[in-house]
Each structure stands twice: as structure tokens, then as C-alpha cells.
């Protein structure tokens, strides 16, 4: 038995069908479009929604970047990248600016994305109303009627209980003044990046069989009250121990010997490019002074 797979794994009919759902999603910002999610060679819940979007969109000239929780080199990111590269032969990169298609789990890159890029986010639970309503049949109705009291009450109850909104990642947003949407479990820090983004943002939930989108230059507002405003994560004056960046999302590391808390850029490719910019200027200077060829 010798069986070869089609370009980008799927048969063309399947790709076309996913693209149709995607077009509908772009036409109705924030609305979850059901689609016939396929079983993929990676597990459900491990990015199959994002992967299906990526495979349905990718062409031979695309340049792909895949990140997981900010890292290009995280095992699951590597695994997804490997699968796409194996079935398409496209070029893969770490450099965010160079990529045309970026698949990401739980982060939006630090450098602003541009018009010619598509960001694909992997979504575990696409339904922002699921926290208080388990039935799909009912949440569909709530969306149709723009009945979002539940979302507001959820935040209100948090304020009553904890003195502030206690959402972590996946803080719900209002898209184009119409649909409440789960931005996927990106930190609150990344929510503002969705608002009037230059790049198209697509969100895919494979197990839940939904595709939704934030088209470029769409209004995206994180849910909050006038007297209790939306707050992103704070790092209290901490900066990256490697590149010194401050206004970025930082990972917290604990140094084993000293027990000291250190911080480091969560976006690994951002950190490396900053380090390289720094070192490039020093080497150039060194080369000039010492007359050593670069």
C-alpha cells in the first residue's frame, strides 16, 4: 500500500468548503460559523481548528510561522509546523515580519502585524457564553437576540466577589458592536491588539467545529464597566532579563539556586530579533574598530 497525500493534506473539496465558512466568518465579524471540522493527524484540542484554517489557506508561496504560547520552538508548534511543511513544502520562519501566515496558540506577536499577514488563532472553547450556559442550542439563540446580560452579570459577580474583574486569559470582547466573542485564551495583554488590526485575524475551533474572524480594521472592545475598566496584566517594572524589553508580555521564571524571580520575553522571536539588533550594532562597531571582516 503506497498512498500519497494531497498538497496541504486535505482534498481540494474539503479546503474549498473550509474557505467558504471562513469567508462567511469574515463577512459577519465575531459570529461563530459552524463548519464540518475534519479529523486531523494531530489531536483534537491541540490546534486542529487553526491547522484546518492554515491548510485551507496556504499556497505554495506562503511563508509560515507557528507559535505556541509565544514560542516558535515549543513542541506543539514544532509539530504543527512540521506537518504543514511536510504536506506543502512551504518555507517556515521564526521572524514574525517575514511570515505571511502565522498560526498561534494563546498569543498575538509583540510586533504589530501588517496588512499582508493573516493571523490564525487556535481556539479551545469558542463560545464566550459557555461559562454560564452549557447548551449550544440556547447560546445560539442568545447571540441571535444579542442577549448578553449573562456576560455582563458574570463580570459583575466577579466584582462583587473579588473586588475586580477576575478574568484571566480569554477575556470576552465585543466585536463590531454586535457579537460578544471569545478572543481565544490570549492574555488580556493581547486583547487591545485585536482592535483595528491591520492583519486579518481568523479563529478556528476544531473540536467545537466553529470558525470566526476579526477582519482588518474592525472595532474590538474588551467587555468592561465605566467604573471598573478593563486592565491588562501588569509586570510592575519588570523587564526581560535577556533583551531588557519592558512593554511586552513576560514569562515569570524562578532561578533554582537563588529562588529569585526573573522575567523573560514570552514572544521568543521578538526577544531574539531585539538581541540581534543590539549585537549587530556592537559587532559592526567592533568590526570597524578592529578592521575584522564580518
Amino acid at each position: 500500500m503506497n498512498i500519497a497525500y494531497n498538497f496541504a493534506f486535505f482534498d481540494e473539496g474539503s479546503k474549498r468548503e473550509i474557505r467558504r465558512a471562513t469567508l462567511k466568518a469574515i463577512a459577519i465579524p465575531g459570529y461563530q460559523v459552524p463548519f464540518a471540522s475534519r479529523e486531523m493527524p494531530i489531536a483534537r484540542g491541540w490546534g486542529t481548528g487553526g491547522l484546518q484554517l492554515t491548510l485551507s489557506l496556504i499556497g505554495k508561496n506562503d511563508i509560515l510561522k507557528v507559535i505556541d504560547q509565544g514560542a516558535d520552538e515549543s513542541v506543539n508548534a514544532v509539530n504543527i509546523k512540521k506537518l504543514v511543511a511536510k504536506t506543502t513544502g512551504v518555507k517556515t520562519v521564526d521572524d514574525t515580519a517575514e511570515a505571511t501566515l502565522i498560526q498561534s496558540r494563546h498569543r498575538i506577536p509583540e510586533i504589530p502585524l501588517h496588512e499582508h499577514q493573516i493571523l490564525v488563532l487556535q481556539v479551545p472553547l469558542p463560545e464566550p457564553l459557555r461559562y454560564f450556559e452549557p447548551s449550544e442550542f440556547i447560546t445560539k439563540h442568545l447571540h441571535a437576540e444579542k442577549e448578553y446580560s449573562g456576560s455582563w452579570l458574570m463580570l459583575f459577580e466577579q466584582i462583587m466577589k473579588y473586588g475586580n474583574m477576575s478574568t484571566d486569559a480569554d477575556h470576552p470582547v465585543m466585536v463590531h458592536d454586535r457579537y460578544v466573542m471569545a478572543p481565544s485564551p490570549i492574555p488580556r495583554f493581547d486583547n487591545p491588539k485585536m482592535d483595528h488590526s491591520d492583519a486579518l485575524i481568523l479563529l478556528g475551533a476544531g473540536r467545537e467545529k466553529k470558525v470566526y474572524a476579526v477582519p482588518p480594521y474592525t472595532k474590538v472592545v474588551s467587555l468592561a464597566f465605566d467604573d471598573y475598566s478593563f486592565e491588562v496584566e501588569r509586570f510592575e517594572g519588570a523587564c526581560c532579563r535577556l533583551c531588557g524589553a519592558e512593554d511586552v508580555f513576560l514569562d515569570e521564571l524562578i532561578q533554582e539556586e537563588t529562588g529569585e524571580t526573573l522575567h523573560q520575553c514570552n514572544d521568543t522571536s521578538y526577544c531574539i530579533s531585539r538581541l540581534n539588533e543590539g549585537s549587530a550594532s556592537t559587532t559592526r562597531t567592533a568590526a570597524k574598530i578592529g578592521g575584522v571582516a564580518e
Binding site: 500500500m1 493534506f9 486535505f10 482534498d11 473539496g13 459552524p34 464540518a36 471540522s37 475534519r38 479529523e39 493527524p41 489531536a43 483534537r44 484540542g45 491541540w46 505556541d68 504560547q69 516558535d72 520552538e73 515549543s74 513542541v75 506543539n76 514544532v78 521564526d94 494563546h106 498569543r107 479551545p124 452549557p134 447548551s135 449550544e136 442550542f137 473579588y162 473586588g163 475586580n164 477576575s166 484571566d168 486569559a169 480569554d170 485564551p185 490570549i186 492574555p187 488580556r188 495583554f189 473540536r207 467545529k209 466553529k210 486592565e231 496584566e233 501588569r234 508580555f249 513576560l250 514569562d251 515569570e252 514570552n266 521568543t268 531574539i272 538581541l275 540581534n276 549587530a280 559587532t283
Partner: protein
């Protein structure tokens, strides 16, 4: 020379894959796909049924690759299934055309055509047969020869196994269950459009037949144990081969021009479920409802469980989770359930950091409040 990303992930994956292969072959022997096809009928049937892909050879390769882990084998089959274009749709298959190998009814002792026990584990003693430890192919061949001679001596059976009447038809003729109309509506395809609720019967049946054997059985068990208050009876359970035909792709749908493309073995179950119907003036009567189950291969428990759930989900007013379409249909798929549960192994650094920030913020606010009060 600039900084380069540490390629830890890539290397770790490569090493892990090597290690996995090592685990499969470390004893220096490999299992032939052919021996899986010959000796693992039960597992092959389960994997084909949960994958909704009928191919013994593919299932056997998947089982080999998965080292016999059914959840992993089903996953491989489903992923492969995603790459297959739909070239044809079969003509409607009528289960009356089944070439029956086994057929029983728990409702009636004497059914037209008779009970046919066939191959079943129901009446073996579950004692480990230690002789299998040293069984040789020679033993098997000898036994087979003796068996075939015996069959020949006894001569052919008079029963026409290709046209056995259905037990339920007999009950219908007696007026014990109501007539049901043939529903020739094109079924929805759950692998081509995602589920909407309330789901149609064709969608429900598809999700149930693809369901993970253990999950389907567990939910059905809950129904008959108390979360559904049913005591169903197996009207008929039959196992056998069904012929599959497709229309001539360039002709019309004349059945005489159809092509026979092969046969599939299935387990089919029709359950009889007593229900109380309220008649005029509060008078109550007992009638029988039907629950239908069908699975690839010989998967009897699953087919019966499917029949119970088919009936249990056929209500607009669920009292129990086992009657709730979303609760049952969303949670019994092997690939979906195992995938999402196992995804918890993935790193959640960012989400956890965000949670940490939220917890710290709450504490900070509390402390500030307390300080304010003390002042």
C-alpha cells in the same frame, strides 16, 4: 553571528519518536498486519466502527502502528479518512438483504426463521484457555479440516439466510407495534455539516454509531439503570453481511445498472421499549417504541447501547442528562474526547501567568482595602 533560537523542541520531538519506535520493536519481533487481520477480529471491528471507515487492512495497520491502543488506532483511521474525497454515495441499503450469520430475539422464543446463535462469546466460560499459549498453525489447520468435514457431513441447512424475515415485521403484522413509514429523505452527513440542535434522527444515529464503544455503553447503562427508567428488550439482534451498490456514475439511477462494490459486516439491533401513552380521559395504555442500533462489524454491546440511546434521545423534554442530545452527542466521540482531555498536557504558561496576575490583583486590592480600614 547573531543569536539563534535554541532548537530544543525539534530535537526533543525527534528523540521521542525514536523512543516510541524503540518501544514497539525492542523485543526484536514485529507483528504482521496479516496476523492482526486474522486474529484480532474484535479489535478490528471496534476500530472500524469508531472510525466510521470500513477497511480491515487499514484498521490492522493502524492497530499495529498504535501498538494495539484502540484510541490511537481510531485517531489514525479518522485522520486518514479526512483525506478521502467522496466519489460516490451508495444506494440505500436494506437490512432485509443481510446474509445472516447470527440472529437472536430476546422477546420471543419462536421467531419466524428461528434463532441462530452463530459465533458468540455469550456462553463460553470466561476461563483463560492456557492451551492457546502453545497453539500452532498446524493445530489450527487440523481443527479446521475436521470442522469442515463435519459441516459437509451434516449437509446444507434448509433456512435461506439471505431472506430472513424481521422479527419486528411479525409484531407489526400482529398489530403489537405501530406501522412506521419509510423515510427516504436524504440523510444529513455529520462529517460534512456540523451538528445543529435539535439534531435530526439521521444525525443522531451517525454520531452514535461512530461513538466510542465504552462511552456509548456507559450512557446507555445509565439509561437502563435509573437515569431514564427504561427496561428495553432486544426485539432482534442480527449480524451478517450487507451488499453495497452504487449507481452507474454516467447512467441514471436504474437499479439494474447499479454496480455491486462489496459487502460490509454489521451488527443491527432493534430494541423494543415499553412506553405509557396517555389516551382520552386519562386512560393509559402501554405501547412499544423502537430503538435502532447499527454498527460496523460484530459490536453487539455497542449496537444495543446505541438502540437504547436512539430511543432515549428521541424526546423534546429531557429529564435526565442521558436524554439530552447535547450532553450525549457532544461527548461520546473518541477522537474529540481523548483529544481534549489529553490537550491538558500541553503547556499553559501564558494562560497560567494571566491567571496568576488576576489572583495577585485580587489580593492586592483586598490588602489595600484592609489597610484603608485600619487607617
Amino acid at each position: 553571528m547573531g543569536y539563534v533560537a535554541v532548537k530544543g523542541g525539534t530535537q526533543a520531538i525527534e528523540e521521542s519518536i525514536q523512543r516510541l519506535k524503540y518501544e514497539r520493536v525492542k523485543k526484536g519481533k514485529v507483528m504482521e498486519v496479516d496476523s492482526i487481520v486474522c486474529g484480532m477480529r474484535g479489535l478490528i471491528d471496534q476500530v472500524m466502527s469508531e472510525s466510521s471507515l470500513y477497511s480491515e487492512t487499514l484498521a490492522a495497520i493502524a492497530i499495529k502502528q498504535a501498538e494495539g491502543n484502540p484510541e490511537e488506532a481510531v485517531f489514525l483511521m479518522r485522520a486518514y479518512r479526512s483525506t478521502l474525497p467522496r466519489k460516490h454515495y451508495s444506494r440505500t441499503v436494506l437490512s432485509d438483504d443481510m446474509r445472516v450469520e447470527r440472529r437472536i430475539s430476546a422477546s420471543f422464543k419462536d421467531i419466524p426463521g428461528g434463532q441462530i446463535l452463530g459465533a458468540t462469546t455469550d456462553f463460553i466460560h470466561r476461563l483463560i484457555d492456557f492451551d492457546l499459549m502453545d497453539e500452532t498453525e498446524e493445530d489450527a489447520k487440523q481443527w479446521l479440516h475436521a470442522f469442515e468435514c463435519q459441516v459437509e457431513e451434516e449437509g446444507p441447512d434448509k433456512t435461506d439466510l439471505n431472506k430472513l424475515p424481521k422479527v419486528l415485521d411479525y409484531l407489526r403484522a400482529e398489530g403489537l407495534i405501530s406501522e412506521c413509514q419509510e423515510d427516504d429523505e436524504e440523510p444529513e452527513d455529520v462529517t460534512r455539516t456540523s451538528l445543529n440542535f435539535p439534531a435530526s434522527r439521521s444525525e443522531r444515529l451517525q454520531v452514535l454509531t461512530r461513538g466510542q464503544t465504552g462511552a456509548v455503553t456507559a450512557f446507555a447503562y445509565a439509561v437502563i439503570r435509573g437515569y431514564g427508567q427504561l427496561h428495553p428488550t432486544v426485539g432482534e439482534l442480527r449480524i451478517g453481511d450487507l451488499p453495497v451498490c452504487i449507481d452507474n456514475p454516467i447512467g441514471d439511477s436504474d437499479p439494474d445498472d447499479a454496480y455491486y462494490i462489496g459487502e460490509i459486516k454489521v451488527t443491527e439491533v432493534e430494541m423494543l421499549i415499553p412506553v405509557t401513552i396517555e389516551k382520552e380521559h386519562g386512560r393509559k395504555e402501554i405501547e412499544f417504541d423502537i430503538g435502532y442500533g447499527i454498527c460496523y462489524g460484530q459490536n453487539e454491546t455497542k449496537a444495543i447501547a446505541m438502540g437504547i440511546l436512539d430511543n432515549s434521545l428521541n424526546t423534546d423534554h429531557p429529564e435526565f442528562p442521558s436524554q439530552d442530545q447535547e450532553f450525549v452527542l457532544f461527548h461520546i466521540d473518541s477522537v474529540e474526547a481523548t483529544g481534549f482531555v489529553s490537550h491538558l498536557k500541553m503547556p499553559h504558561y501564558v494562560t497560567f501567568q494571566s491567571k496568576l496576575d488576576s489572583v495577585r490583583k485580587t489580593r492586592r486590592n483586598r490588602n489595600e482595602e484592609r489597610e484603608g480600614e485600619n487607617r
